[in-house]
């Protein structure tokens, strides 16, 4: 089993937002919820960079640590998933998450949060793989079909990489060596306590 990760090569990202759109389409993500988004740093200034960000599927995930009902679990591929049956929508995982990944549908009164929704690395949830119940709650399960996450698979500039952490780190390293620059593996230090040495 591999340790899967995401890596966004910001020097290639053109902020087309196709990853965001593909994700919403693939999983029928409701209005107001974005499992993935593109943030532009230093927008309009020389050297601006855009980074596509979603749940990074952290090692020793903070969301899982603070969850009061233990709704998170980590798969053999190191994907951090959660059970919407167990989640109570308290919002703690959003406070702890370094990447702002958890999203909540607004249900009922006040700022009442519904069951948390986040990137599943296209790996569904605790329900049976590829079942209708799984699709309704978590979206499609591409990993069970032997495919990688849709956002990275259809990235037009191949800025967003998904797959075995060791392999995508090697690809990024090679790119940086060849072209002579790289703004870094965004979020890796925070999520995995390691970065891609260049």
């Amino acid at each position: 089993m591999a340790r899967v990760k995401f890596l966004c090569d910001a020097d290639r990202c053109i902020e087309c937002n196709a990853c965001v759109t593909a994700c919403k389409n693939e999983h029928d993500v409701p209005w107001g919820i974005n499992r993935r988004r593109v943030v532009t740093i230093n927008d309009g200034k020389p050297g601006e960079r855009s980074v596509s960000m979603a749940c990074m599927h952290c090692t020793d995930a903070p969301c899982a640590a603070v969850c009061p009902v233990n709704c998170f679990y980590t798969t053999a591929d190191a994907v951090v998933l959660h059970s919407k049956d167990t989640c109570i929508g308290c919002g703690y995982c959003f406070y702890a998450c370094p990447f702002g990944a958890p999203q909540y549908p607004r249900v009922g009164n006040f700022g009442s949060r519904g069951k948390m929704d986040k990137c599943t690395y296209c790996a569904g949830g605790p329900e049976a793989d590829l079942s209708q119940a799984e699709y309704v709650k978590y979206g499609s399960n591409r990993l069970a079909e032997g495919k990688l996450p849709i956002c990275a698979e259809m990235c037009s500039t191949k800025a967003l990489l998904a797959g075995d952490g060791a392999i995508i780190a090697e690809i990024y390293k090679e790119r940086v060596t060849r072209r002579g620059y790289g703004s870094g593996a965004w979020g890796w230090k925070t999520a995995y306590k390691e970065t891609v040495g260049i």
Partner: protein, 335 residues
Amino acid sequence: MKTAIHALRAIALALLLTFVGALQPVAAQPAPNPTAQSVKEDQLLQALKPGDTLSGRISIPDAKAANLIQPEGQAWRTFHQGSLPTIAGVAILGMTALLALFFLVRGRIRIDKGFSGRTVTRFAGFDRFIHWVTAGSFIVLALSGLNLSFGKTLILPLFGDATFSTLAGLGKLAHNYLAFPFMAGVALMLVVWVKDNIPTRLDLDWIKAGGGIFAKGVHPPAKRFNAGQKGIFWIVVLGGLVMSASGWHLLFPFTDGHNVVDQQFWVNLHAVLAMVFIAVMLAHAYIGSVGMEGAFDAMGSGEVDENWAHEHHSLWLEEQKKLRAKAPANALPAE
């Protein structure tokens, strides 16, 4: 035809030479580095001050999504999983241990002269109503709140994920709704009881005498509320105010332009104060029930024994007796 081709060749050659000539001075300079000014994650993260987030511009309406990385989340996790349970443990278990020790040493504080059989009205119906609305909602708020901090460790193993999730979900709903009667109760308490809770010189004497709680037969004089009760009143009113303000931000999260760091502050303030609040209320509940004979009647039936009133609120009892002598037909309650 041939001449035409020759002419074209000549033109092409001339053009090529022109371009090469034009390019030559540029080629002499070093290749431009397109990332000379580009942002680097490392530098940005190192430049972050505590409480800052690494954020940028976003094209979706959700402003929270503009935060790319918030390292503060790690600090919040450490606080929530480490410091908070420690504070809670020290405050709540520490208070429980103190009260148990006090009970073992001092025992139940009895009425020295025993029950007289004559009673005086201490709290009218409305006083007791606001007390129990606040107290009742406080108990549910405290239990459902503690459940979020400790339920995972203490209760979940007993019932399993599914049942515990249902319980915690109901607790969250109860916490959201009962916040309102609690806030109303605290506000009413302030209005109704503040006039008898202004600290006076008498309170200093009461405190010097240790409130009479550590020795038998010592009963410093007090009006309607003694210094201890005034302390509880101000803890409830001011603590309740901060609990309400912080809780309000949790009921309506991310309003008024609040970002995730603000939310972390409010939830931490709410949680720490709650633990201290619970500890103080344990002491209040102890002395108002098992800790002192005759004390519960004040908030139970509202009628306290005259001997109890004489020992603990001597000046207030005198006032009540005078009032009763003036208007015997309709004796005024404590209010």
